[in-house]
Protein backbone atom coordinates (compact mmCIF):
# COMPACT_ATOMS: atom_id res chain seq x y z
CA UNK A 1 0.00 0.00 0.00
CA UNK A 2 1.23 3.47 -0.84
CA UNK A 3 1.36 5.92 1.99
CA UNK A 4 -0.10 9.37 1.44
CA UNK A 5 3.44 10.80 1.53
CA UNK A 6 4.59 8.62 -1.37
CA UNK A 7 1.48 9.53 -3.36
CA UNK A 8 2.28 13.21 -2.84
CA UNK A 9 5.78 12.56 -4.25
CA UNK A 10 4.52 10.89 -7.40
CA UNK A 11 4.24 12.72 -10.68
CA UNK A 12 0.65 13.57 -11.57
CA UNK A 13 -1.31 11.30 -13.88
CA UNK A 14 -2.19 12.36 -17.45
CA UNK A 15 -4.73 10.92 -19.86
CA UNK A 16 -3.45 10.52 -23.40
CA UNK A 17 -5.55 11.02 -26.55
CA UNK A 18 -4.17 10.20 -29.98
CA UNK A 19 -5.56 11.13 -33.38
CA UNK A 20 -4.75 8.42 -35.87
CA UNK A 21 -5.42 10.40 -39.08
CA UNK A 22 -6.22 13.94 -40.18
CA UNK A 23 -9.94 14.53 -39.81
CA UNK A 24 -10.51 11.70 -37.34
CA UNK A 25 -11.20 12.52 -33.69
CA UNK A 26 -8.65 12.13 -30.88
CA UNK A 27 -9.25 8.85 -29.07
CA UNK A 28 -8.35 7.98 -25.51
CA UNK A 29 -5.56 5.42 -25.54
CA UNK A 30 -4.17 5.30 -22.00
CA UNK A 31 -2.50 7.26 -19.24
CA UNK A 32 0.96 7.96 -17.86
CA UNK A 33 2.78 9.79 -15.09
CA UNK A 34 4.74 12.94 -15.92
CA UNK A 35 6.02 16.02 -14.11
CA UNK A 36 4.28 18.50 -16.43
CA UNK A 37 2.31 18.81 -19.64
CA UNK A 38 5.32 19.13 -21.95
CA UNK A 39 6.95 16.05 -20.49
CA UNK A 40 3.66 14.17 -20.69
CA UNK A 41 3.53 14.95 -24.43
CA UNK A 42 7.10 13.66 -24.93
CA UNK A 43 6.37 10.49 -23.04
CA UNK A 44 3.08 9.93 -24.81
CA UNK A 45 4.97 10.15 -28.10
CA UNK A 46 7.40 7.48 -26.92
CA UNK A 47 4.86 5.19 -25.31
CA UNK A 48 1.79 5.43 -27.54
CA UNK A 49 2.92 6.35 -31.08
CA UNK A 50 5.78 3.90 -31.71
CA UNK A 51 3.84 2.00 -34.34
CA UNK A 52 2.69 5.01 -36.34
CA UNK A 53 -0.54 5.22 -34.37
CA UNK A 54 -0.83 8.96 -34.53
CA UNK A 55 -0.53 12.35 -36.18
CA UNK A 56 -1.51 14.38 -33.12
CA UNK A 57 -1.48 13.93 -29.33
CA UNK A 58 -3.46 15.56 -26.52
CA UNK A 59 -2.62 15.13 -22.85
CA UNK A 60 -5.05 16.12 -20.12
CA UNK A 61 -4.47 16.04 -16.35
CA UNK A 62 -6.48 13.10 -15.07
CA UNK A 63 -7.46 15.23 -12.10
CA UNK A 64 -9.30 17.60 -14.46
CA UNK A 65 -11.73 14.89 -15.52
CA UNK A 66 -15.03 14.63 -13.71
CA UNK A 67 -16.46 11.17 -14.19
CA UNK A 68 -19.92 9.78 -13.66
CA UNK A 69 -20.36 7.43 -10.72
CA UNK A 70 -20.58 3.77 -11.81
CA UNK A 71 -23.14 3.33 -9.02
CA UNK A 72 -25.47 5.72 -10.87
CA UNK A 73 -25.37 3.61 -14.01
CA UNK A 74 -28.92 2.38 -13.79
CA UNK A 75 -30.36 5.79 -13.00
CA UNK A 76 -28.41 7.52 -15.73
CA UNK A 77 -28.50 5.08 -18.60
CA UNK A 78 -31.26 2.53 -18.04
CA UNK A 79 -34.14 4.93 -18.95
CA UNK A 80 -32.81 5.26 -22.52
CA UNK A 81 -33.17 1.56 -23.13
CA UNK A 82 -36.88 1.48 -24.11
CA UNK A 83 -36.79 4.62 -26.27
CA UNK A 84 -35.85 3.07 -29.56
CA UNK A 85 -37.57 5.93 -31.43
CA UNK A 86 -34.56 8.05 -30.56
CA UNK A 87 -32.62 6.22 -33.25
CA UNK A 88 -33.24 7.69 -36.71
CA UNK A 89 -33.44 4.16 -38.13
CA UNK A 90 -36.68 3.67 -36.14
CA UNK A 91 -38.60 5.78 -38.67
CA UNK A 92 -39.64 4.66 -42.11
CA UNK A 93 -38.77 7.30 -44.66
CA UNK A 94 -41.35 7.79 -47.45
CA UNK A 95 -40.00 6.98 -50.91
CA UNK A 96 -40.82 10.54 -52.11
CA UNK A 97 -38.14 11.90 -49.79
CA UNK A 98 -35.48 10.16 -51.83
CA UNK A 99 -31.96 9.64 -50.67
CA UNK A 100 -31.04 11.23 -47.34
Amino acid sequence: MSTSASIANEWPLWEVFVRSKQGIEHKHCGSLHAADAQQALHMARDVYTRRQEGVSIWVIPSAAITASDPGDKDTLFEPAKDKVYRHPTFFVIPDEVGHM
Partner: protein, 255 residues
Protein backbone atom coordinates in the same frame (compact mmCIF):
# COMPACT_ATOMS: atom_id res chain seq x y z
CA UNK B 1 30.83 12.44 -56.00
CA UNK B 2 30.86 9.96 -53.15
CA UNK B 3 31.90 10.80 -49.63
CA UNK B 4 34.93 8.92 -48.39
CA UNK B 5 34.12 5.44 -47.18
CA UNK B 6 36.18 6.15 -44.08
CA UNK B 7 34.02 9.05 -42.97
CA UNK B 8 30.75 7.20 -43.64
CA UNK B 9 32.14 4.26 -41.65
CA UNK B 10 32.89 6.66 -38.79
CA UNK B 11 29.26 7.92 -38.87
CA UNK B 12 28.01 4.32 -38.92
CA UNK B 13 30.22 3.28 -36.00
CA UNK B 14 29.11 6.32 -33.98
CA UNK B 15 25.47 5.36 -34.47
CA UNK B 16 25.98 1.67 -33.74
CA UNK B 17 28.10 2.10 -30.61
CA UNK B 18 25.84 4.71 -29.00
CA UNK B 19 22.80 2.67 -30.03
CA UNK B 20 24.30 -0.38 -28.30
CA UNK B 21 25.18 1.64 -25.18
CA UNK B 22 21.76 3.21 -24.83
CA UNK B 23 20.11 -0.17 -25.38
CA UNK B 24 21.66 -1.26 -22.07
CA UNK B 25 18.85 0.66 -20.39
CA UNK B 26 16.26 -1.59 -22.00
CA UNK B 27 14.40 -3.20 -19.12
CA UNK B 28 16.36 -1.10 -16.58
CA UNK B 29 15.05 2.40 -17.28
CA UNK B 30 14.38 4.69 -14.31
CA UNK B 31 10.70 4.76 -15.29
CA UNK B 32 8.74 2.85 -17.91
CA UNK B 33 8.33 5.87 -20.19
CA UNK B 34 12.09 6.53 -20.24
CA UNK B 35 12.82 2.87 -20.80
CA UNK B 36 10.77 3.11 -23.99
CA UNK B 37 12.23 6.50 -24.94
CA UNK B 38 15.79 5.15 -24.74
CA UNK B 39 14.87 2.00 -26.64
CA UNK B 40 13.32 4.21 -29.36
CA UNK B 41 16.51 6.28 -29.42
CA UNK B 42 18.63 3.14 -29.80
CA UNK B 43 16.47 1.78 -32.58
CA UNK B 44 16.76 5.09 -34.46
CA UNK B 45 20.55 4.94 -34.13
CA UNK B 46 20.83 1.30 -35.13
CA UNK B 47 18.58 2.03 -38.11
CA UNK B 48 20.93 4.85 -39.14
CA UNK B 49 23.92 2.54 -38.65
CA UNK B 50 22.40 -0.07 -40.96
CA UNK B 51 21.85 2.43 -43.79
CA UNK B 52 25.34 3.85 -43.34
CA UNK B 53 27.03 0.41 -43.28
CA UNK B 54 25.14 -0.57 -46.43
CA UNK B 55 26.48 2.59 -48.06
CA UNK B 56 30.02 1.85 -46.87
CA UNK B 57 29.73 -1.65 -48.36
CA UNK B 58 28.72 -0.09 -51.71
CA UNK B 59 31.54 2.40 -51.61
CA UNK B 60 34.11 -0.24 -50.75
CA UNK B 61 32.77 -2.79 -53.19
CA UNK B 62 34.91 -5.49 -51.56
CA UNK B 63 32.23 -7.96 -50.54
CA UNK B 64 31.67 -6.45 -47.10
CA UNK B 65 28.10 -6.24 -45.81
CA UNK B 66 26.34 -4.39 -43.00
CA UNK B 67 26.69 -7.52 -40.86
CA UNK B 68 30.37 -8.11 -41.58
CA UNK B 69 31.06 -4.46 -40.73
CA UNK B 70 29.09 -4.49 -37.49
CA UNK B 71 29.91 -7.96 -36.17
CA UNK B 72 33.17 -9.12 -37.67
CA UNK B 73 35.52 -6.21 -37.18
CA UNK B 74 37.66 -5.80 -34.09
CA UNK B 75 38.07 -2.84 -31.81
CA UNK B 76 40.95 -1.15 -33.67
CA UNK B 77 38.86 -1.10 -36.86
CA UNK B 78 36.03 0.86 -35.25
CA UNK B 79 36.18 4.61 -35.89
CA UNK B 80 33.61 5.91 -33.40
CA UNK B 81 34.22 8.82 -31.07
CA UNK B 82 35.53 7.66 -27.68
CA UNK B 83 32.69 9.58 -25.97
CA UNK B 84 30.14 7.12 -27.30
CA UNK B 85 31.74 3.92 -25.97
CA UNK B 86 32.01 5.08 -22.34
CA UNK B 87 29.80 3.28 -19.83
CA UNK B 88 26.89 5.12 -18.20
CA UNK B 89 28.99 6.12 -15.21
CA UNK B 90 31.64 8.64 -14.23
CA UNK B 91 35.32 7.71 -14.17
CA UNK B 92 35.62 6.58 -10.57
CA UNK B 93 32.43 4.57 -10.20
CA UNK B 94 33.37 1.30 -8.45
CA UNK B 95 31.43 -0.81 -10.94
CA UNK B 96 30.39 0.60 -14.28
CA UNK B 97 27.48 -1.77 -14.61
CA UNK B 98 26.08 -1.35 -11.14
CA UNK B 99 26.63 2.39 -11.04
CA UNK B 100 24.73 3.33 -14.17
CA UNK B 101 23.88 7.00 -13.94
CA UNK B 102 21.10 8.46 -16.06
CA UNK B 103 22.75 11.89 -15.91
CA UNK B 104 25.66 10.50 -17.96
CA UNK B 105 23.28 8.95 -20.49
CA UNK B 106 21.31 12.16 -20.94
CA UNK B 107 24.34 14.46 -20.99
CA UNK B 108 26.14 12.35 -23.60
CA UNK B 109 22.99 12.15 -25.74
CA UNK B 110 22.69 15.91 -25.47
CA UNK B 111 26.30 16.68 -26.47
CA UNK B 112 26.31 14.19 -29.34
CA UNK B 113 22.81 14.99 -30.66
CA UNK B 114 23.60 18.71 -30.68
CA UNK B 115 26.65 17.87 -32.81
CA UNK B 116 24.88 15.40 -35.12
CA UNK B 117 22.03 17.83 -35.75
CA UNK B 118 24.58 20.16 -37.37
CA UNK B 119 26.30 17.34 -39.24
CA UNK B 120 23.06 15.95 -40.70
CA UNK B 121 21.87 19.45 -41.59
CA UNK B 122 25.03 19.90 -43.60
CA UNK B 123 25.00 16.42 -45.17
CA UNK B 124 21.41 16.63 -46.43
CA UNK B 125 22.81 18.79 -49.25
CA UNK B 126 25.81 16.58 -49.97
CA UNK B 127 26.58 15.59 -53.55
CA UNK B 128 26.61 11.91 -52.53
CA UNK B 129 22.85 11.35 -53.02
CA UNK B 130 22.75 8.23 -50.86
CA UNK B 131 24.41 9.98 -47.94
CA UNK B 132 22.13 13.01 -48.42
CA UNK B 133 19.04 10.76 -48.23
CA UNK B 134 20.30 9.14 -45.01
CA UNK B 135 20.91 12.63 -43.62
CA UNK B 136 17.32 13.75 -44.36
CA UNK B 137 15.93 10.73 -42.51
CA UNK B 138 18.36 11.00 -39.60
CA UNK B 139 17.81 14.72 -39.16
CA UNK B 140 14.20 14.16 -38.08
CA UNK B 141 15.32 11.56 -35.56
CA UNK B 142 18.19 13.54 -34.10
CA UNK B 143 15.96 16.58 -33.60
CA UNK B 144 13.85 14.51 -31.25
CA UNK B 145 16.91 13.01 -29.52
CA UNK B 146 18.21 16.51 -28.86
CA UNK B 147 14.85 17.74 -27.61
CA UNK B 148 14.54 14.74 -25.29
CA UNK B 149 18.07 15.05 -23.88
CA UNK B 150 18.00 18.86 -23.50
CA UNK B 151 14.63 18.66 -21.76
CA UNK B 152 15.95 16.20 -19.18
CA UNK B 153 19.25 18.02 -18.73
CA UNK B 154 17.37 21.20 -17.82
CA UNK B 155 15.16 19.25 -15.41
CA UNK B 156 18.22 17.66 -13.78
CA UNK B 157 20.17 20.92 -13.53
CA UNK B 158 17.17 22.82 -12.30
CA UNK B 159 15.84 19.98 -10.13
CA UNK B 160 16.91 18.71 -6.72
CA UNK B 161 20.33 19.16 -5.12
CA UNK B 162 21.24 15.60 -6.06
CA UNK B 163 20.07 15.78 -9.67
CA UNK B 164 21.95 19.07 -10.09
CA UNK B 165 25.16 17.59 -8.64
CA UNK B 166 24.92 14.50 -10.84
CA UNK B 167 24.27 16.54 -13.98
CA UNK B 168 27.21 18.83 -13.20
CA UNK B 169 29.47 15.80 -12.57
CA UNK B 170 28.35 14.30 -15.88
CA UNK B 171 29.05 17.43 -17.90
CA UNK B 172 32.42 17.92 -16.14
CA UNK B 173 33.37 14.33 -16.95
CA UNK B 174 32.16 14.22 -20.56
CA UNK B 175 33.04 17.66 -21.87
CA UNK B 176 36.77 16.94 -22.53
CA UNK B 177 35.75 14.00 -24.78
CA UNK B 178 33.92 16.40 -27.11
CA UNK B 179 37.28 17.82 -28.22
CA UNK B 180 37.42 14.85 -30.56
CA UNK B 181 34.44 16.28 -32.52
CA UNK B 182 36.62 19.17 -33.58
CA UNK B 183 40.14 17.79 -33.79
CA UNK B 184 41.81 17.92 -37.17
CA UNK B 185 40.84 15.05 -39.47
CA UNK B 186 41.16 15.33 -43.26
CA UNK B 187 38.40 12.73 -43.89
CA UNK B 188 35.92 14.85 -41.94
CA UNK B 189 37.05 18.12 -43.47
CA UNK B 190 36.68 16.61 -46.96
CA UNK B 191 33.01 15.93 -46.29
CA UNK B 192 31.99 18.66 -43.83
CA UNK B 193 34.28 21.46 -45.02
CA UNK B 194 35.31 24.07 -42.50
CA UNK B 195 34.04 22.80 -39.14
CA UNK B 196 34.65 26.07 -37.27
CA UNK B 197 31.15 27.24 -38.30
CA UNK B 198 29.68 24.04 -36.85
CA UNK B 199 31.77 24.47 -33.71
CA UNK B 200 30.39 27.91 -32.93
CA UNK B 201 26.78 26.76 -33.57
CA UNK B 202 27.36 23.76 -31.29
CA UNK B 203 28.88 25.92 -28.55
CA UNK B 204 25.85 28.22 -28.73
CA UNK B 205 23.43 25.29 -28.21
CA UNK B 206 25.49 23.84 -25.36
CA UNK B 207 25.81 27.23 -23.70
CA UNK B 208 22.07 27.97 -24.00
CA UNK B 209 20.93 24.67 -22.54
CA UNK B 210 23.50 24.67 -19.71
CA UNK B 211 22.50 28.23 -18.81
CA UNK B 212 18.85 27.22 -18.73
CA UNK B 213 19.78 24.22 -16.57
CA UNK B 214 21.82 26.39 -14.19
CA UNK B 215 24.92 24.25 -14.87
CA UNK B 216 28.50 25.49 -15.18
CA UNK B 217 30.30 25.04 -18.49
CA UNK B 218 33.52 23.18 -17.63
CA UNK B 219 36.69 23.73 -19.64
CA UNK B 220 37.08 21.17 -22.41
CA UNK B 221 40.81 20.66 -22.45
CA UNK B 222 43.40 18.02 -21.65
CA UNK B 223 43.99 14.80 -23.54
CA UNK B 224 42.19 14.57 -26.87
CA UNK B 225 40.83 11.06 -27.36
CA UNK B 226 41.32 9.27 -30.69
CA UNK B 227 38.52 6.76 -30.98
CA UNK B 228 37.95 7.69 -34.59
CA UNK B 229 41.55 6.65 -35.32
CA UNK B 230 40.81 3.23 -33.79
CA UNK B 231 42.46 3.95 -30.44
CA UNK B 232 39.81 3.03 -27.87
CA UNK B 233 39.32 2.82 -24.11
CA UNK B 234 39.23 -0.39 -22.09
CA UNK B 235 35.42 -0.24 -22.21
CA UNK B 236 35.19 -0.80 -25.94
CA UNK B 237 36.16 -4.48 -26.06
CA UNK B 238 33.53 -5.40 -23.45
CA UNK B 239 30.87 -3.60 -25.43
CA UNK B 240 31.92 -5.34 -28.65
CA UNK B 241 32.13 -8.74 -26.97
CA UNK B 242 28.55 -8.43 -25.79
CA UNK B 243 27.32 -7.09 -29.12
CA UNK B 244 29.24 -9.45 -31.42
CA UNK B 245 29.35 -12.75 -29.54
CA UNK B 246 26.06 -14.10 -30.85
CA UNK B 247 26.80 -13.31 -34.51
CA UNK B 248 30.26 -14.88 -34.15
CA UNK B 249 28.97 -18.06 -32.53
CA UNK B 250 26.36 -18.50 -35.22
CA UNK B 251 27.75 -16.85 -38.38
CA UNK B 252 25.07 -16.17 -40.96
CA UNK B 253 22.27 -17.18 -38.61
CA UNK B 254 18.84 -15.82 -39.48
CA UNK B 255 15.45 -15.98 -37.77
Amino acid sequence: MNASAEFVLHLADNALILGQRNAEWCGHGPILEEDLALANNSLDLIGQARLLYQHVAELRDDGSTEDSLAYFRDQQDFLNFTLLELPHSTALAPSARAERDYAITITRNFLFSAYMLLVWEQLQHHADAQLAAIAVKSLKEVKYHLQHAADWLVRFGDGTEESHARAQAAIDFLMPYTQEFWSEWPSAQAVLGDTTVLLSAWQTTVHEVLTQAGLQLPPSDGYVTQGRAGIHTEHMSYLLAEMQSLARQHPGATW
